[in-house]
């Protein structure tokens, strides 16, 4: 079960050259700055751009040196940045457009699936509306449902949140998270927003200048300090944890992860629930001994794994191991020298802020 994609394409001033083997289920983020080729790669997978190479989706070859399956024969769902609903059709007929074509022979066989998807994305009240009367977030929900209703074997999303303002994004993200839990096909998700990636992805491909410069499971890859592409202020670790306790007096929750526990702001997540925790490198500081006389709540013993120079010559990025979990911390080079940080050294990390990202 995998998505094998190898593409090469040369335009004036841009070349795409990737060879990827992506997991056959779960969310893979194609991450990188604009112009790095992530959308072009997605369009190649769909057949919307004609790159030379090979694409096989869970064993079915869609394209290789000898053959090119036309877009409309590929069992894919594509969600564009701009929802691209058909302006002349209402929501119901937009949803039916792909479904009717995908199920020409068994048109009625999937009506329970259709209702489930309409329900999953909360589209029931919108069915009779025309696209122009929908908000941006509603349009994207219709676009996702429209793609899902063709029963795709590969779902491709090109920055579906990019055209939404902050409030709409917050309203839309929970729908995407629900979808992620229900989905049993690979979803490839293009994004340049680290917070979306932290929240949604299981696997990440970091792209730069038309190449994949790093790929792997999300937690592992984000905690690497040798990434050629710098995340800057967004550098940080993401890992899984479980809510173990909720403290009613202080409105805090205790979450456990492989290596320790953290106190976080209680956002109402029930005890026992799996959550994702994100700790930015800039919110981590390091001490050689334990200090209890500081305001910081989360103190963890850690081992220095590695360090790397940052873009600005005053900064270094340090990779720290807490149990089985890797964290990143950013500090000045001067502090690093004063603390005599070197791989293998035992330290205490002080964590200023922890975010639960879903």
């Amino acid at each position: 079960m995998s998505v094998a994609a190898r593409f090469a394409l040369a335009w004036p001033g841009f070349t795409l050259d990737v060879d990827l083997d992506l997991p056959g289920r779960g969310v893979t983020a194609l991450f990188g700055q604009s112009g790095c080729g992530k959308t072009t790669l997605l369009r190649c997978m769909a057949g919307l751009e004609r790159g030379s190479g090979r694409l096989a989706v869970n064993g079915e070859t869609w394209q290789d040196e000898a053959s090119f399956m036309p877009i409309h024969r590929r069992a894919l769902g594509y969600v564009f940045q701009d929802a691209r609903l058909f302006a002349h059709l209402d929501v119901r007929r937009n949803l039916d457009y792909g479904r009717r074509r995908a199920f020409r022979r068994a048109a009625s066989a999937d009506s329970s699936r259709r209702d489930a998807i309409i329900d999953l994305l909360g589209l029931g009240p919108l069915l009779e509306r025309m696209p122009e009367r929908l908000s941006g977030g509603e349009q994207q929900r219709v676009a996702i449902a429209r793609a899902l209703l063709t029963a795709p074997r590969l779902l491709l999303m090109d920055e579906p949140l990019a055209s939404l303002d902050h409030a709409r994004k917050q309203e839309f993200l929970p729908w995407l998270e629900r979808l992620r839990e229900e989905l049993d096909i690979p979803l490839i998700y293009v994004s340049h927003a680290p917070d979306e990636v932290a929240r949604l992805a299981d696997h990440i491909v970091v792209m730069d200048a038309g190449r994949a410069v790093a790929q792997g499971p999300l937690a592992e890859t984000l905690a690497r300090i040798d990434l050629p592409i710098r995340l800057g202020e967004d550098a940080g670790a993401v890992f899984a944890a479980r809510v173990a306790e909720r403290d009613a007096e202080w409105h805090l929750a205790r979450v456990e992860f492989a290596g320790g526990e953290l106190w976080v702001r209680d956002n109402g997540t029930p005890v026992g629930r799996e959550v994702r925790v994100r700790i930015l490198a800039r919110d981590v500081s390091i001490a050689n001994s334990r200090h209890d006389d500081v305001s910081i709540l989360n103190l963890l013993p850690a081992t220095v794994e590695a360090d790397a120079a940052e873009d600005h010559p005053s900064q270094v990025l340090v990779q720290l191991r807490v149990g089985e979990t890797l964290l990143l911390g950013r500090l000045t080079r001067r502090s690093a020298q004063r603390l005599d940080l070197a791989p293998g050294r035992q330290v205490w990390v002080q964590i200023k802020a922890v975010a639960l990202v879903g």
């Binding site: 919307l48 409309h72 792909g98 995908a102």
Partner: protein
Amino acid sequence: MFSPSDLAAIWLTLKLATVTTLLLLLIGTPIAWRLARTRSWWKGPLAAVVAMPLVLPPTVLGFYLLLLMGPNGPVGRFTEWIGIGLLPFSFGGLVVASVVYSLPFVVQPLQNAFEAIGERPLEAAATLRASPLDAFFSVAVPLARPGFLTATILGFAHTVGEFGIVLMIGGNIPDKTRVVSVQIYDHVEAMDYAAAHGLAAGMVAFAFLVLLALYLLNSRGRKS
């Protein structure tokens, strides 16, 4: 108020305009589609050829069409060979001439409409399992509806309003090639100004209504 020959001319004009408009939509749509979507070198030359009737005097077009469709022209030989005879001075000849003459009035609004739609909805249709032909009929044509309305109205109206090319290709044969504009010319020649007024005023009213309808359709299309 209209004489029988006036009514015959009106009927012939409407028949000619209807047949011409239908043919123009059939011929003009694929041309407009290609022009809207190609980036090939021949786009410019083809667009220029399509637009030429806008600037050429009808006499020039009529002259060359006469030569082409005459007994020594390639089209004329062909029509004789397949057994339908020669086209000049027949209704068929008028239709051919009208199609050529009104082509830009149909192609340009359609081309504009197709260009305004762009690639995006068609890409979306392709990812939803629509073949290119399917996407053309289920997405491009409905989205280009205002363009088709404009093209139909302009093609029809322009055909109703032609004179020079009709006279050169069709002559002035009652019930076969004598359309309203020619009939008015006859009335004026015969100093029958009252009869000329009847038809001419009708044409003025027709032109006004057509252009008003176009304006209203366009402004409504912009609002929605």
